[in-house]
Assembly symmetry: C2
Homo-oligomer: 134 residues x 2
DNA sequence: CAACAAATGCAACTAAGTTGCAAAGACAAA
DNA sequence: TTTGTCTTTGCAACTTAGTTGCATTTGTTG
């Protein structure tokens, strides 16, 4: 079991359970947004979907994870170490392969000076072609 | 019946039905993204939800309308006259009142020069406070 | 170890959106 | 105006991502 994972959980007042550590492990390995269903499959369905959803939600609340909206009605989750408080890196949904990619090699400012609004966070979604599909 | 609406439908090879014109009327009046359910209520449930969904989809295909993702699992639709081919205006979901507002008085560039990716369209979603909630 | 709170699994539920099909309606040609 | 064809509509049944209630199990602290 990973020591730092254990500490992360402790710091967020979350109990150190097998379910949580294995979900975090999978999110770490994935390195990109994945869905509840994908997590369940990688765990060979040894963890109940309710449990996965509930754990992902507690990770969300603790800020360890964020989620992006996929296609029609699914969320994909990923670790949030590449995100600042106000802005997560942009994502691209590829028109061809439909996969979601994280775009971390760009430098997009925070548009927080829009008259009349108080902008606290911004999410950017690109549509187009990923490197593999051009 | 609005003559321009009629022409818009004709140009998109869509038949001029009562359902379609009344949905377009409501979207025009709304001037912001609204959901299927909201449309149905404004029509006093005289139009079946299947019909509304199917018409919204044909509007989407024709480019007359675009949609933004709302809260948990709902889409909101709005007329796309304020959008360019590559970018729609940003939207803000207010942390307090949960309403979605269109932000049209800002000038955000298209980030289409990201190495490795072919960006065709960008969608920006802000979270924060709307003018009424500050 | 005991006691309590939190996490888990299961089954049933919710609800936004979809599908199949028969009936009604739009529209172009005659 | 009528006819014929293709599109649109309504209805009911369905799909499925995500949620809820509850009984059981597990982690943690003293």
């Amino acid at each position: 079991m990973n020591k730092s994972t254990e500490n992360i959980l402790k710091n967020s007042n979350l109990r150190n359970t097998h379910g949580r550590t294995s979900i975090l492990e999978i999110l770490t390995k994935a390195g990109k947004p994945i869905t509840q269903e994908q997590i369940a499959v990688k765990l060979k369905k040894t963890l109940n979907k309710t449990t996965i959803y509930r754990n992902l939600e507690s990770f969300l609340k603790a800020g360890m994870v964020h989620r992006v909206f996929l296609n029609q009605r699914m969320w994909a989750y990923e670790l949030s170490h590449n995100c600042t408080e106000n802005q997560c890196h942009p994502h691209l949904i590829c028109r061809k392969c439909k996969k979601t990619t994280c775009i971390t090699n760009c430098n997009i400012p925070l548009f927080d000076n829009i008259p009349g609004f108080k902008i606290e966070r911004q999410k950017i979604l690109f549509e187009g072609l990923c490197p593999g599909c051009q």
